[in-house]
Symmetry: none
Subunit: 201 residues, 4 copies
């Protein structure tokens, strides 16, 4: 009544995200969600149209928050290469931190490809938007004469690949040495490679 009672909808979304991340989309059953949320099976369908719908909604709301981070990171206009490097570094620090705070979401975004068409679409859209953000930034840097005039779409693809792959290893791969690193360290390494490649300092 006062706005303090536990918001069922939020609660269900929260546990759904947890479960999707833990077990994957297909192995998560509606019954798992409602059990963990402590509500009845029917209640789920009062709040959500279907399993695909809740997944899609989770992804979309995650996408918004993710893009916010990206857009915030691109506010300053770099003047020199050094400016661009440090701008990039702070963006990636933000991104790694966001991912750490939202690891369930990131797991869904990075692995949730074998699902119903609509869910898959939502995932792809979110990832494409991220890549598009990178592309715009690269284009601007080229326009400003900071980066050489290479194909910005391609560069964005390379950069996003790098980010996605490193996030996956950092957050989810027990077999990787990266698990122990901080968001800062990860960002630093990624940016070094981004600008200078294997031969870089």
């Amino acid at each position: 009544m006062t706005g303090k009672e536990p918001d069922r909808r939020e609660e269900i979304m929260k546990v759904a995200l947890e479960l999707f991340a833990e077990k994957g989309y297909h192995r998560t059953k509606i019954s798992d969600m409602v059990n963990r949320a402590g509500v009845a099976q029917g209640t789920f369908y009062w709040y959500f149209k279907s399993k695909a719908a809740i997944a899609t909604e989770i992804i979309q709301s995650g996408e918004e928050r993710l893009l916010e981070v990206v857009s915030k990171g691109y506010r300053q206009v770099p003047g020199t290469v050094q400016d661009a490097v440090s701008a990039s570094r702070s963006l990636f620090i933000e991104l790694f931190q966001f991912s750490q705070d939202n690891r369930h979401l990131m797991e869904l975004l990075l692995k949730g490809m074998d699902t119903e068409e609509t869910v898959k679409e939502a995932v792809l859209k979110a990832r494409r938007k991220l890549e598009e953000g990178f592309r715009q930034n690269i284009t601007r840097a080229i326009d400003l004469g900071i980066l050489p005039a290479n194909d910005p779409t391609l560069q964005a693809a390379l950069l996003t690949s790098l980010l996605e792959g490193m996030l996956e290893r950092w957050l989810f791969s027990e077999h990787s040495d990266l698990t122990g690193k901080t968001a800062d360290e990860m960002a630093r390494e990624l940016v070094r490679f981004e600008f200078f490649g294997l031969l870089g300092i």
Copy 2:
């Protein structure tokens, strides 16, 4: 006797791989496989224990062929940076070509994460082995003084991320400009970035 009679086992594996790539693991039913292969439902179970079993077997046999490409690509010993660059380039050309010729397999390897535990393990194992191949090569280049002494595990992770991400975009993303490029062009761009980063020539 003639070597012409249809090998049911091979046929079912071929069809299964196609379907896994087309529709994903979960949306592929045993009935889809046997219908397309033109055999009875029971025949599937004569050859394979379960759906997870056929997927695992497909992945393992793919892993072998993939690693063969990688090991072949690492035979020459580079003397200079230029040697290393061109060795890397030919390896990646091979890898992109292999992936193009085995796009279904690659789809499974790159996207098959929401599956039964055993299948997922097989996928991860294959990808880890690939990364390990890269790591060894980088280590050797550092030992030879060709690359700066950075953490080779990290570099391998960066490199594999790059490859996996670019393969995904090149082969499966209709939204990407990359679709039109040749294996050669992809390899060339990837290697440029690999060695010189965004700032490279």
Copy 3:
């Protein structure tokens, strides 16, 4: 609310027991049960984990009711042989009557040996408890000096064999002359043999 609405769970158990008795465990399909109960296939699984589970539950609840009969029959303390004979006779009358009223249950208990391990265990447990009841009674009669001091475990085995065999013939064997007899007559004959053997009056 009215106590009249059909209890699905009870209904399914009732129907299942009927079918187990009519057709045997293996020839009874889940579909038979739900068809006869007039519910959907899935409903079965709302109430029971599996076919073995419903059978086990049926047997266990039957065991309880059966043992109640036995324990009730053992209340009076016999003073003479004649007391013991008539106590035994009234117990067996109860047992034959119970069996007639629960012929389906008895069929399961007497014939349900070729089933899943868990079901078989439940059947054996019920039968062992019955035999144990007999053993205690015989022991008491020996202690009271009413019966000669022979091995009570053995005597109980002999007695239970008699009961089980005669129940099987009486209830289920169309080839037997026994079918026409009443519970009273069956008990009387059994008890005569129990105490005096073939040579008895």
Copy 4:
């Protein structure tokens, strides 16, 4: 060629009987039989029409051998009660020994009731014939004035119940104390009860 080559038919029947006894009729698959017999799946159907057919045949051939034992045991004509007791005792010794030597067969006969109709019929027929043997013997003893003139059909039923139950406990029940007894001891106890009941010496 020489009559020495392993008789496939016999071999399959032997393992089938083993398996029926070990696992029950339903849990025994044709594939189990042929695996253990070391022949191909198809071979089974060269020798037997069906699973039910082999079971039926096993039971029928067992029935013959069992009845032979019974008929042999009934050759002497008793003059006194003591004669009858000792004749009965030697018959039961034979029967217990036969059962020990043919425990798989007896397991099938005593427990094989939840099977296809034809198999069930074969089992029942064998058991009925045994009971009929007892009945004839009792009738004769009554005619000779050795036993009181009670209903011989009923007496036979009681006696067969006793035998079947005790066999089951002796051969197959790990929970029973009887397992350690010899065929002789079992027969002696059974005959004591048969003639004198619980009150007997």
